[in-house]
C-alpha cells in the first residue's frame, strides 16, 4: 500500500471535537461528517481535503473516542495522516476504518507531494525522506482489507 497526496499542514494537539464537532454526530450520513470536518478550525478546509495527506503536529486525534473523526477524514478523501504521535483511540479507529496513519516527525510545507509506504516505514515529502517504524503486520492487513469490518469478514 502506497499513500500519495498533497501535504496539508496542521498544528499539534488537534482534538476530535475539532475534527468533527459533537453537534454533527447524530446521523448515519457519512458525507455530513466529511462536509463539516475541521469546521471549527477553518470552515473552508473540508472542501480542500480531497487528495491530501495530513501532516499534523503531535497528539493528533486527542479527546473523544468518536470514530466519526476518522470516518470524516476518510470520507473527505484524505489519503492518510502523518504525525509524530497520535492519541491511541484515534490511531486504532483510523486503522479500523481504513485510514492510513503513520508516526513520523517531519517538516511540512503545504502542497508538497507526499509519498509514504507504511509497510516499509518510509515517508517522502518533496525531496526529503524519512524512515519511521513500520506498521505491525496485523495493522497492515486491516488497512489492506479496507478496515476492520472487511478484515473480519475475510477471516471467517
Amino acid at each position: 500500500m502506497i499513500i500519495e497526496g498533497h501535504a496539508l499542514c496542521l498544528g499539534p494537539d488537534i482534538d476530535t471535537d475539532v475534527i468533527i464537532a459533537g453537534r454533527y454526530l447524530r446521523t448515519r450520513d457519512r458525507s455530513e461528517w466529511a462536509r463539516h470536518a475541521f469546521e471549527d478550525l477553518d470552515p473552508t478546509l473540508s472542501s480542500r481535503l480531497e487528495g491530501t495527506v495530513i501532516l499534523a503536529g503531535k497528539n493528533f486525534g486527542c479527546g473523544s473516542s468518536r470514530e466519526q473523526a476518522a470516518i470524516a477524514l476518510k470520507e473527505a478523501g484524505v489519503r492518510g495522516v502523518i504525525a509524530p504521535s497520535f492519541a491511541r483511540i484515534f490511531y486504532r479507529n483510523a486503522i479500523n476504518v481504513g485510514l492510513p496513519v503513520i508516526e513520523c516527525e517531519c517538516t511540512c510545507s503545504d502542497g508538497e507531494m507526499v509519498r509514504a509506504d507504511p509497510a516499509a516505514g518510509k515517508v517522502a515529502i518533496g525531496d526529503r525522506s524519512y524512515l519511521t517504524r513500520p506498521l505491525s503486520p496485523r495493522m497492515r492487513e486491516i488497512l489492506s482489507a479496507g478496515g476492520l469490518v472487511s478484515y473480519w469478514r475475510g477471516r471467517r
Binding site: 475539532v18 454526530l25 471549527d40 486527542c62 491511541r88 484515534f90 473480519w152
Partner: protein
C-alpha cells in the same frame, strides 16, 4: 513484580496480547456506529451478550426525531440480543458501571474515552472506537499493547478548599495533554489511600486527558467496603516493587483550587488569580463530578442563598438523583435557583441542554474545554465543585475559600 496493568493483562509492557474482555459497554452515541459496524460484519451472534452493556446517556432524552430513531434502533437491538440495557434517565455509562458492576482485576472496554474512570476500582479499563467494539461484540475479546506505566505518587492529604478535581487538573497540567500517550497511569503512595472512591473516580477520569490508556488505583480496604455495599466480596490488590517508566510526585497538601483555561485541559491557573472573570453559565455534573458527594458539597455552599448566574446541575445517575432527593440536597439546589437536568452527560459535549452562545463563558466541572465543545464561540473553564459553587454565588469566577 509487575505493574497493575501488567498483572491484569498478563504480559510485560510492550507485548501485544489478545485478551477476553470481562465487560464492554457503549452509549447512545457510540452505540449507533458500533451497531452499524456489527451489522456490516454479519457476525450473527454476540460472543457474550451478558457481558455487554448499552447505556443511554449522551443525548437523553432524545433532542429530535433523528436522534430518537437512532436510539430506538439501538434499544430494540439491545433487547432482542440480550445485552444489558439502561434507558434514558438511568445515568452516565461510567457512573453506572461504577455502581457495583466494575470489579478489581477486570478488563473493561468502553466505546467512550472516559472509560478509564473505572480504573478507580483496580480494573484495567480503557476506551475504544465503535468498530473495535463491534469486533468485541463478535469475539468477546480484543488486542492490546501492554502499556508502560507512569506512577503518580501522591503524598499527604488534600487541604480544604482543594478537592480531587484540583488534584486531577494539577496532575494533567504536570503531565500535559500527551505526556502519557500510550501509557497507563498508576496512582500510588500514602495520599492515594486518603481519597474516597468518588475522588478516585475523578482522578482516573482525567487520565485520558494526558493521552493515557488507563488510570489505575490498587483496590484497597475502601474499595472493598464500597463494593461490599453492592454485594461483592472483592480482595485488595497488592502493589509491589515494579518498574515504572517514570514517577511524578505530588504533595497533595500543596494543591490549591485551579481552573483549566480554554482551550486546553493542561493549562491551569490558580482560581485566586482568575477571580472576577464574568460567567454566563455554571455547569455541575458529568462522569468527572456529578456524583452525590459533588451535589451535596455544592448544595451545602449555596443553601439558603441565590445563585447569580445560570446554573445547570446534571446528576450522574438516577441513584445520585434519588439520594439527593431523599436527603434534601435536591430541594436546596432548586431553591437556590439551580436548574436540574436529567441524569446523563448534559451539556458537556455541546449536543443539547445548555449549549453556549457566541462569546459566552462557562465554568464546568467536566473534563474537556476544547474549542467550541459546548457551543460555537463559547469558552469553557474547568474547575472543582467548590469553585463552581463559589462562582455561581458570585456570578463570576470565585475562590471557594471565601465561601466555606
Amino acid at each position: 513484580m509487575s505493574t497493575l496493568s501488567e498483572q491484569i493483562l498478563g504480559a510485560p509492557a510492550g507485548d501485544y496480547v489478545d485478551c477476553p474482555v470481562d465487560r464492554s459497554y457503549v452509549h447512545d452515541g457510540t452505540g449507533v456506529l458500533t451497531l452499524e459496524a456489527w451489522r456490516a460484519m454479519q457476525a450473527g451472534v454476540l460472543a457474550r451478550p451478558d457481558r455487554c452493556y448499552v447505556l443511554f446517556d449522551h443525548i437523553v432524552p432524545a433532542n429530535n426525531s433523528v436522534t430518537a430513531g437512532l436510539q430506538q434502533d439501538l434499544r430494540m437491538f439491545a433487547r432482542e440480543h440480550g445485552l444489558n440495557f439502561t434507558d434514558v434517565g438511568e445515568g452516565i455509562c461510567h457512573q453506572l458501571m461504577g455502581e457495583g458492576i466494575a470489579l478489581p482485576g477486570e478488563i473493561i472496554v468502553g466505546a467512550d474515552s472516559h472509560t478509564c474512570t473505572l480504573g478507580a476500582f483496580g480494573a484495567f479499563a480503557t476506551g475504544v472506537g465503535a468498530t473495535d467494539m463491534a469486533a468485541i461484540w463478535a469475539e468477546g475479546g480484543t488486542w492490546f499493547r501492554v502499556p508502560e506505566t507512569i506512577a503518580i505518587r501522591l503524598h499527604g492529604a488534600l487541604a480544604l478548599p482543594a478537592e480531587a478535581k484540583d488534584l486531577a487538573l494539577t496532575y494533567v497540567a504536570r503531565l500535559t495533554m500527551d505526556g502519557a500517550t500510550y501509557r497507563a497511569l498508576e496512582f500510588v503512595g500514602d495520599g492515594a489511600a486518603t481519597l474516597s472512591i468518588y475522588s478516585r473516580m475523578t482522578l482516573s477520569n482525567l487520565a485520558v486527558e494526558t493521552g493515557a490508556k488507563a488510570g489505575l488505583f490498587y483496590a484497597d480496604g475502601a474499595t472493598c467496603r464500597y463494593l461490599e455495599g453492592y454485594g461483592h466480596h472483592a480482595r485488595p490488590q497488592q502493589p509491589g516493587e515494579c518498574c515504572y517508566e517514570r514517577e511524578l510526585h505530588i504533595d497533595m497538601s500543596a494543591v490549591v483550587p485551579v481552573v483549566a483555561v480554554p482551550p486546553r485541559v493542561d493549562t491551569i491557573r490558580p482560581v485566586e488569580e482568575m477571580e472576577g472573570l464574568p460567567l454566563d453559565q455554571v455547569f455541575v455534573g458529568t462522569c468527572t463530578n456529578g456524583r452525590y458527594e459533588d451535589l451535596q458539597r455544592f448544595s451545602a455552599m449555596v443553601k439558603g442563598k441565590r445563585v447569580k448566574v445560570r446554573t445547570l446541575i446534571a446528576p450522574a445517575s438516577r441513584n445520585v438523583l434519588a439520594r439527593a432527593t431523599g436527603s434534601g440536597v435536591l430541594s436546596d439546589l432548586v431553591r437556590s435557583g439551580c436548574t436540574i437536568l436529567p441524569p446523563g452527560c448534559g451539556p458537556c459535549l455541546g449536543a443539547h441542554q445548555g449549549v453556549l452562545g457566541e462569546g459566552e463563558v462557562c465554568l464546568s466541572t467536566a473534563n474537556r474545554n476544547f474549542r467550541n465543545r459546548m457551543g460555537v464561540g463559547g469558552e469553557i473553564y474547568l474547575g472543582s465543585v467548590s469553585t463552581a459553587a463559589a462562582s455561581a454565588l458570585a456570578g463570576a469566577l470565585a475562590s471557594p475559600g471565601a465561601v466555606r
